[in-house]
């Protein structure tokens, strides 16, 4: 046997998954020692990330698809007999995203989880979660995907309940488990129905055989799989789970749930509609995706405005951004998918940053209640700056990364509206723009309630978080800025190859099952290589803009300094009583800070019936959430039976 063969890059996908599971196993054995734990965890996540980065050259830039049959069991007689991993640009894109988020969350966990019990179990579950999600996106076999979905649901539920004395952790974990299991059962039922039709579980072979033979059973399977993956991505109507789970989990796990698990659900949906059923040419399927995405966008951002817990608010925003991605991916144009994937990447980065800052605040003050916090910018200046970068990114302020991807999404939806002549897509553009400004409002509220304002007496002794945590947050912040300043490079190297891969179903099938398979099996329905075009209708050059802004800022600062901008009183030692106090109408300062719940009264007053209705609807009872899941499933089954 040629031993050097094991170093070939073709094996890297399986290595990337196995080091994570191996790390989890080794931590069970050697986890008592703190250094052993940290070194093992760091080595696992770092080597997983390194393996995936090494794959960028052949897969992303070279356009190759790695079809890896486990145990060397290649297809025989035109039938797939082994379990396969298939890494094309789309899988690698999501894989890189996942590996980066896992790496940074792991670095953050080292200091964040110091004071907890059962830390070895935390790292074990963490690495299992990471391995499960990576296995999901790199897998080429439908049942393997289901197994990975179960692994990651399990690990995520256990990690949500990890700090089981925290308020609501057990409750959140139970609700997540119940509705998540409904979703997983749907995925399994869908997989089995597909197996019953064609007796294969291999993704590529299914993609070749299913589209030609759509009968009632496969339509039901489509609905089941779609609803199952929507559960994993926490779209409407499964969004209350997200709010509960994110709020209760430790911050590094919230990063994974919002940045990684939701992406796995999105990956499943994209594979389902573009590859497995190849039905995106139908206007009704596009409508379904865009409708679910837009409703998620809008409902979740309005729910977020009404929250008074920091992490729950971030969780609702997370789902709102996922709504953006799904709306863009549902357009079935190359620009749309590219924009959606770019936004998915940005979402992982800025949402991860925001959750980590929320974790930093929780770590030091012990609470995330917006009504109780205030004035933390004086005690935690670095955290404040990092939070402001994250908040600017999610609101879409130029030149951060949120703006670059949102800009592309607006162009994609408007272009689609013009091309198809359907004014409904224009409505999506308008909803997206309004959601963006409501997101900004929400983060202004959080900034005012948590970081500015008056510092309550209980937090006088709060200090800045340890360097390890700040370093991890800094990595995300730096990535936010870089991906915002150089959107051309990001699209050329990462999102365009992935978007191209979405339209290359024929190549996907042929690379897996042998050349010419797609044409021979599918006959006239074989998907031709579509021409993809990424034409933008607008202009945006972030580096030039930033240069002009810096020159202007320099000029203005110079003028300010010359005008003696900051004239401190010369006799600063002589304290004039009351000179540096806040003005409160001339009365003794019985301080009243505008509470987080009272901000934006003008907006909330006009929408009070809607907010009341939504509050009553999200009742917190697990039966209601399960009822929504069942209703969504029924609607999906009926809709897809009629439409396909």
């Amino acid at each position: 046997m040629n031993w050097l063969n094991i170093l070939s890059y073709r094996h890297f996908p399986i290595y990337a998954i196995m080091v994570l599971f191996l790390g989890a196993f080794l931590i069970v054995l050697f986890g008592r020692n703190r250094w052993a734990r940290h070194i093992l965890a760091f080595l696992s996540v770092a080597s997983s990330l390194a393996f995936l980065i090494a794959l960028v050259r052949p897969v992303m830039l070279g356009g190759e698809i790695i079809a890896y049959w486990m145990g060397g069991r290649v297809p025989a007689g035109g039938y797939a007999i082994g379990i396969a991993l298939e890494v094309d640009a789309l899988s690698l894109f999501f894989g890189l995203l996942i590996a980066t988020a896992v790496f940074v969350a792991c670095l953050y966990s080292f200091r964040y989880m110091e004071h907890d019990d059962n830390i070895p179990q935390y790292y074990t579950l963490f690495l299992m979660l990471a391995g499960g999600v990576l296995g999901l996106v790199l897998s080429g076999d439908l049942f393997n995907m289901f197994i990975m979905v179960e692994i990651l649901t399990f690990a995520a539920v256990a990690l949500t309940a990890f700090r089981n004395t925290a308020n609501g952790a057990l409750e959140a974990a139970f609700k997540y488990l119940v509705v998540g299991s409904i979703g997983s059962s749907c995925i399994l039922a869908g997989t089995i129905l597909l197996y019953a039709q064609v007796h294969t579980l291999n993704f590529a072979q299914l993609s070749a055989l299913i589209p030609g033979g759509l009968n009632n059973a496969t339509k039901v399977a489509f609905a089941l799989l779609f609803v199952g993956f929507c559960t994993k991505a926490f779209l409407v109507p499964f969004h209350p789970l997200a709010a509960d789970a994110h709020g209760a989990a430790p911050a590094s796990i919230s990063v994974l749930i919002s940045g990684v698990l939701t992406k796995s659900g999105l990956y499943g949906i994209i594979r389902l509609v573009y590859f497995l059923f190849q039905s995106m040419g139908l206007g009704t399927i596009q409508f379904m995706l865009v409708f679910v995405g837009s409703v998620s966008m809008f409902v979740c951002v309005t729910m977020a405005l009404a929250q008074h817990d920091f992490k729950r608010l971030l969780a609702f925003h997370s789902i709102s951004q996922i709504g953006y991605v799904l709306s863009a991916a549902g357009l079935a144009t190359a620009l749309g998918i590219s924009a959606g994937l770019y936004h998915a990447m940005n979402h992982t980065l800025f949402k991860g940053l925001l959750f980590l800052t929320a974790g930093a605040v929780l770590h030091k003050t012990g609470t995330t209640d917006l009504g109780k916090l205030g004035g933390l910018s004086k005690k935690m200046p670095h955290t404040t700056v990092l939070f402001l970068i994250g908040a600017a990114s999610i609101s879409g302020i130029p030149p951060f990364n949120g703006f670059a991807s949102k800009w592309m999404i607006y162009q994609a939806t408007y272009q689609k509206a013009v091309e198809s002549g359907n004014i409904g897509f224009l409505l999506v553009t308008i909803i997206a723009l309004i959601t963006s400004v409501l997101t900004l409002a929400s983060f202004v509220k959080v900034t005012q309630s948590v970081f500015f304002g008056r510092l309550p007496a209980a937090y006088e002794n709060v200090t800045e978080v340890p360097f390890g945590m700040r370093f991890a947050m800094g990595i995300f912040a730096a990535l936010c800025v870089v991906t915002g300043l150089f959107p051309d490079y990001v699209t050329r190297w990462l999102t365009e190859p992935a978007a191209r891969a979405v339209f290359s179903v024929g190549q996907y099938i042929n690379d897996m099952m042998g050349a010419g398979y797609a044409e021979s099996v599918m006959g006239g329905l074989a998907p031709a290589q579509q021409t993809v075009s990424f034409v933008h209708v607008g202009v945006w050059s972030p580096v030039s803009w930033l240069l002009v802004l810096c020159i202007m800022l320099l000029a203005v600062t110079l003028a300010a300094v010359l005008g003696k901008y900051d004239r401190v009183s010369e006799n600063a030692g002589e304290k004039v009583p009351g000179k540096y106090d806040l003005f409160f109408g001339g009365e003794e300062s019985v301080y009243s800070q505008v509470g987080g719940g009272d901000l934006f009264w003008g907006f909330k007053h006009n929408w009070r019936h809607y907010f009341r209705f939504m509050y009553d609807l999200h009742s917190g009872v697990v039966n209601d959430y399960a009822l929504w899941a069942v209703v969504a499933l029924s609607l999906a089954v009926v809709f897809l039976q009629i439409v396909l």
């Binding site: 404040t384 130029p398 162009q411 309004i434 802004l549 540096y580």
Partner: protein
């Protein structure tokens, strides 16, 4: 080498002199002064001299800056500068008829987002000051921004679609192309379908600049000017300057979108025509409204913008969509 030097110097000239900092400074404060004088005259008062904002600015620059003990010092002092810089940079990307200093950098969507930055700067400055009046003020300012955003979005989409169908590309987001189309084919305001959008844009201008009757965010009589309550000295001067420059920016945006065809091609004349148009817009929409109306409550502002003004813009959008 001299070529590079010349182009660098000319860009620097654009940024600092025209249509950059110096131009904005002079014209903005002049417009603010004329506005104050006219409002006073309409209310049968004498009013301050027209150059009063200049006097105010230089006086404030010389005063002492008191940073409250409860404030976050860096953000408190930095926010006004960032707001001013962003606003002037925004002015650079709005074409003055056929003259466009930086044409390949920003389009209509970018301008929409860049308009948020000055508002955000004043909000952050107010939040940093730690005053309870600032809390109320920034809440109202944010609601005003949300309120003005929907009609502005609809107007921009309508204009983009109108120009796009006419040039055959479907949609057009580039500012220079919109102005170019108007120079060749006549201003957009002459098309009947664009008149509701122009009206909507005119109504958005007092909201964006925070003028009466939409100035609940800076209500002097209720919340001691809200976010500026704790500001004094030079930072306050910079905020007043930003407020004045915003008058120029919003009016020139309106001109570029709807009146792009009345330029001549000579830069000096174009600048004068722009000044004249800005003057008329300021007089009509800002001074006149200021003098004759009472202040609206914040929920009334929100309702007004999201029903009446958005309705006008929506009519234009639908008409432009179907090609009228």
């Amino acid at each position: 080498m001299p070529q590079l030097l010349i182009s660098a110097l000319s860009y620097l000239g654009y940024i600092l002199i025209f249509p950059g900092f110096l131009f904005c400074f002079l014209v903005g404060l002049l417009l603010a002064g004329i506005d104050r004088k006219l409002v006073a005259r309409m209310q049968k008062r004498v009013g301050p001299p027209i150059l009063q904002p200049f006097y105010d600015f230089f006086k404030l620059m010389g005063k002492e800056t008191i940073v409250p003990a409860a404030a976050s010092r860096t953000t408190f002092l930095l926010a006004p500068l960032v707001g001013l810089a962003a606003l002037v940079v925004l002015q650079l990307f709005i074409p003055i008829f056929s003259f466009s200093a930086f044409s390949g950098v920003a389009d209509v969507i970018v301008i929409l987002y860049l308009l948020l930055i000055p508002a955000l700067a004043i909000i952050l400055g107010g939040a940093a000051s730690g005053s309870p009046y600032a809390g109320v003020g920034l809440s109202r300012e944010m609601v005003t921004v949300i309120a003005c955003e929907l009609p502005l979005v609809l107007v921009l989409l309508a204009v983009g679609r109108a120009v796009g169908t006419a040039t055959g590309s479907g949609i057009c987001f580039s500012m220079t192309q919109i102005v170019q189309y108007q120079i060749e084919n006549g201003s957009l305001i002459t098309r009947a379908s664009m008149i509701p959008a122009a009206l909507a844009m005119l109504l958005v201008i007092p909201g964006e600049t925070g003028s009466h009757p939409f100035d609940a965010a800076e209500a002097e009589t209720e919340i001691c000017e809200g976010m500026l309550a704790e500001y004094s000295g030079a930072p306050l001067g910079v905020y007043k300057l930003s407020h004045a420059i915003k008058l120029l920016t919003m009016s020139s945006l309106f001109t570029a979108l709807f009146l792009g065809g009345i330029g001549t091609g000579v830069i000096v004349l174009d600048a004068l025509i722009l000044f004249a148009v800005c003057l008329v817009v300021t007089v009509v929409m800002i001074s006149l409204l200021h003098a004759v109306t009472a202040r609206l409550k914040i929920e009334q502002i929100f309702k007004y913008y999201w029903t009446v003004v958005s309705g006008l813009a929506l009519i234009s959008l639908v008409l432009a969509w179907y090609g009228f």
